[in-house]
């Protein structure tokens, strides 16, 4: 699963720790999400999308579905 977490976090001038505190997860989880190593649960994906004021689809995208979109 691909995501725009790093891009949006940097745009919002937020540190990984600040985002972790707002999403109530550990900083390691934010690092793993940004690297695309970990796929979040629907609850965490919803929390993160709420933080950035976006929909889940705008924040996360399945690699297999990326081609279908365009």
């Amino acid at each position: 699963m691909e995501n725009r977490l790093k891009e949006l976090r940097e745009k919002a001038s937020m540190t990984q720790e600040e985002l972790a505190i707002r999403a109530q997860v550990s900083r390691q989880t934010i690092i793993s999400l940004e690297k695309g190593k970990y796929n979040p649960s629907i609850t965490l994906a919803y929390k993160l999308s709420c933080i950035f004021g976006l929909s889940i689809e705008e924040l996360f995208c399945l690699k297999e579905m990326e081609g279908e979109k365009s």
Binding site: E17, Q24, S32, Y38
Partner: protein, 131 residues
């Protein structure tokens, strides 16, 4: 980790430490010393770990978030699977070709537990770096 849970963990370590001292005093020095060394190491590790957890919790982060549970779940499954396969192979091959041995069941259980824990820790670090 709440203060209550931490207190219980330290209390358990203290009780086992007491058993270790009692064993040393009654002449079972090798077992008592080993147990005491293990308790000291566990106490130091618990202290470091709980300090980090308390610091992160105070900041508002969750040190036991969903990723930690996912890593722990994968590590447990992998450790259990490998452990079961190894035990099954030992039982199978040992029953056919192995010699009949008289073993202390407590020692055997201790070795099995230590092996399982070691595998879990190794798999935990492996999945923690992968996820």
């Amino acid at each position: 980790m709440t203060n209550g849970k931490l207190l219980i963990k330290y209390l358990v370590l203290l009780i086992i430490g007491g058993i270790a001292v009692w064993q040393i005093m009654t002449g079972n020095t090798s077992f008592g010393t080993g147990l005491l060394a293990g308790i000291l190491i566990a106490g130091v590790l618990l202290g470091i770990n709980s300090r980090q957890i308390i610091q992160n919790t105070e900041k508002g982060m969750d040190p036991y978030d969903e990723r930690v549970w996912a890593v722990a779940g994968k590590a447990s499954y992998a450790a259990l699977k490998i452990f079961a396969v190894i035990i099954a192979l030992i039982v199978l091959l040992g029953s056919i070709w192995g010699p009949q041995l008289m073993v202390n069941p407590y020692n055997l259980l201790g070795i099995c537990l230590a092996g399982l824990m070691l595998m879990y820790v190794c798999f935990y670090y492996y999945y923690n770096s992968k996820m």
